[in-house]
């Protein structure tokens, strides 16, 4: 079945898998490590404080999430209608609404 993986690309309507390269994984892994070390230093060594620290931490997490999606989960390599991307965006919209909505509504809840 090795042939399937190596020679069938031309006819593939495939999305993820089958197209990743070692280089891509190594770059993704290296960026992920950097994006993990920076927040650790910011939070543990007190490089930044307050809002700026929160922005850096959340920013690094979101970037690393993007690295996982692009370098490891091959989101870019979808062909044809991008159903994977569309469902992902729907999911993110719902997730952000739940989290941001909960924070907002509880911050303005006089009973809590």
């Amino acid at each position: 079945m090795a042939q399937h993986g190596n020679h069938a690309h031309g006819g593939h309507g495939g999305s993820e898998g089958g197209h990743g390269s070692l280089k891509e994984y190594v770059i993704g892994f290296a960026i992920s490590i950097i994006l993990t070390i920076i927040p650790i230093l910011v939070a543990m060594k007190g490089w930044l404080e307050g809002t700026s620290a929160v922005v850096v931490l959340i920013g690094a997490a979101v970037l690393q999430f993007a690295v996982q999606l692009l370098f490891f989960m091959h989101l870019r390599e979808e062909k044809g209608p991008r159903y994977n991307l569309m469902t992902l965006i729907l999911g993110i919209v719902i997730a952000v609404t739940i989290v941001a909505g909960s924070i907002w509504i509880m911050a303005h809840n006089a009973m809590y």
Binding site: M1, G5, Y25, L57, A60, Q68, P81, T87, A95, I98
Partner: protein, 206 residues
């Protein structure tokens, strides 16, 4: 997914030639939709934790009870396992069953180390009297982190089952798809852990 609607996109392509491949692609897409719903589940647990993390019922808060060295080690272990699960897919695409199974075993061993460290952390907290019923903060914490841990544990069993199928059937279009979706699942769990690590642990001890 490109050929799911052959009539709209490629009227010349018959279902016969692309049919089987399409089915496997469609199954992968079905799994992707599951991941999105799992993402929504975790967002609800994150929302609960964020809202309740200050409600410690007079008990200790995140700063007092989290021990960061262990958690940082867990983070790097899971990140490395996400990488090795990618290497497994690369080995599979190169047609190497040995390499594929080898990297999958490395991945589940790293996953087991992660779970081992997490269980150790939970047991230590419980011994110190910090249980799920101690405060709203700890309820939210154990539910969120525990749900992620259960996902990783399930992933370990699942990848083990796929390894058994690979040993018995080799790399076929079906086992290939199974490896690809377990790999997606594993990358997804690492992505969720990034947010657990950042929001629960790093922001907790800041």
């Amino acid at each position: 997914m490109a050929h799911s609607h052959p009539h709209a996109q490629h009227p010349a392509h018959g279902e016969g030639h692309y049919g089987h491949h399409d089915l496997e692609e469609l199954r992968k897409f079905g799994f992707w939709i599951f991941l999105i719903t799992d993402c929504i589940l975790f967002s609800a647990l994150f929302a609960v934790y964020i809202v309740l993390h200050g409600s410690t019922a007079g008990g200790p808060g995140p700063k007092e009870i989290f021990e960061m060295p262990g958690v940082i080690v867990e983070t790097f272990i899971l990140l490395t396992s996400s990488f090795t699960s990618g290497l497994a897919v690369l080995a599979m695409n190169a047609g190497s069953r040995k390499g594929l199974i080898g990297w999958l075993i490395v991945t589940i061993l790293l996953g087991a180390c992660f779970i081992g460290l997490e269980v150790t952390e939970f047991v230590k907290l419980a011994e110190e009297g910090h249980t799920i019923s101690s405060s709203a903060f700890l309820s939210g914490f154990f539910t969120l982190v525990g749900t992620h841990g259960l996902h990783v544990s399930l992933g370990i069993f699942w990848i083990s089952a796929v390894i058994i199928q690979l040993v018995r059937h080799g790399i076929t279009p079906v086992t290939k798809r199974k490896v690809q979706i377990t790999s997606l699942y594993w990358h997804f769990l690492d992505a969720v852990w990034i947010f657990v690590f950042t929001i629960v642990y790093l922001m907790g001890v800041m």
